[in-house]
Amino acid sequence: MNDMSKKGRFGQFGGQYVPETLMHAIEELEAAYKKYSADGQFNAELEYLLDEYAGRPSRLYFAKNLTERVGGCKIYLKREDLNHTGAHKINNALGQALLAKKMGKTRLIAETGAGQHGVATATAAALLGMECEIYMGEEDTKRQALNVYRMKLLGAKVHPVTSGTATLKDAVNECMREWTNRVSDTHYCLGSVMGPHPFPTMVRDFQAVISKEARGQILKKEGKLPSAVVACVGGGSNAIGAFYHFIGDKSVRLIGCEAAGRGVDTFETAATIATGKPGIFHGMFSLFCQDSHGQIAPVYSISAGLDYPGVGPEHAYLHDIDRAEYVPVTDDEAVDAFELLSKTEGIIPAIESAHAVAYAVKVAREFKKEDNIIVCLSGRGDKDVAAIARYRGSDIYD
């Protein structure tokens, strides 16, 4: 395959695998991003929105009770759950919405899994006075009914996607089809560090604020770098955001937690790096869960936000060069961590983020008491309460 010298590549991964009908839009976006990412006024406007509207910088909280319970090193939580709309997704949604507005686009479309990115996009659209249409797998509209209503409340139109497996990957397919259909006034506000170039780079840049803040915060609080940064990985946007400014710090272990579902030795998993193979899909050369004929495999996780058969190309690259490690975390482990953090710290994490908490609890014991690790708490768990109740056998619906 191609190398780093080629546009939009992370090592051999990445690229621009989209139909000719989308190339014009992709090139237009690439040029606009290049222009505005270097534009002082654009960056000032975005920073204003992130600070005054979304509530940044997010806190780096020392989870004392959890640390004591675990008995390992100090565990810090990067509180992306405290952002407006309750997840890291708003960082990217505001960035892309503002960019789209500058490009003269009047309409945003977006895919969503758990609904967090859909809510963030609908929020940014409402704020900036843009039209908004969200594509969500029908399966996910049932799992996350409250988020569907939330998006509608924000003025967005929600399209349940019934094709394929009716989950996140199918919502992405539908968005690409819809974007092809209407590129002139529409921007596809992709929610993760995936898809064709420039999305993986652009979304990473918008999420890198997480590690930019966290690096400064931990140095101030602890006077030293963390031993590890731990984040959950679906497409991988909160993880790359949490890793980015630590990539050059070789002593910091970067740990991505994939959704193993019922286990990586079952077919009911979404752990792409653990079980996937290289392939070309959704605009990129990366790793994908696929069957023995190169068909994209149905994936499963209790978490609708990690239920994706691929992973962003920069993660595939960081894995390839051994800079980051990727570990599978099962539904059971994630649910246990969901409950543990709620009880010890009074913080209900998103079930996605609970995957990171679950592994952090294990890895914290590998370090000395005076060391510290940072867990990216990518979102809050209110949206998951009913699903976890059902998982534990209570018949509750939201």
Binding site: Y17, V18, E20, T21, M176, I280, F281, H293, G294, I296
Partner: protein
Amino acid sequence: MIEISKAFEGGKKAFVGFITAGDPTLADTKRYLEIMQDSGVDIIEVGIPFSDPIAEGPVIQNADVRALSGGVNLGAIFEMVEGIQKKVPFLFMTYANPVYFYGYARFFARCRQAGVSGVIIPDIPFEESGEVKEVALNYGITVIDMVAPTSEERIKKVCADSQGFIYLVSSMGVTGMRQKFDADISSVYARIREVTDTPVCVGFGISTPVQAGEMASKCNGAIMGSAIVKIIEQYGSKADEPLRSFLTEVAAAVHAV
């Protein structure tokens, strides 16, 4: 294999027809492909079904679902196509991942063995096509380039080294029947002609003999997919006669131009 250029010999307008392999079964597909070449289809596109066909509208998406749920796979498709005595050029139309997964060299070697002249892979645009074209060329297989209504300045590079024919997408969006077409076909055609003499066929949305004739009159041929697949959707394994009569009618309209 038969050269793609044979379909355009003597300035003839080409009728390019598409169906999905394995819809509803591979045995049906084999029979339908034979009917196609006997009913005036000049170039045949055999769709290799993919789980996530992002350039397709609902009709071909559903055909892919029917084929895949019937258990069809690439090996079986190659065998089926190899078993056809070809009278016109055959192409495969599929997505990047099944080809990449099978291995480019292995895929194009099998194409050659099966008598398939070329491939259309919509999610490999010009910029990413270098590697796949190089391997295809080694086996004498043509990779078809696509031009969209929004290609504009891109036409120059996309068409410069085009082979076989250029697939001109009539409209934005996905495959499937439509009433109106976005692109001013004649002006895009003229623009392509400034770059190359490679024949140009228009596809996406053509569903009637009249539309096919009109489109073919503006370039070198008309491509039809969803409208043919729709007949198979309706008649399943008993589509022989409806297919024959529809294809004959479309071919007559295209060839009358």
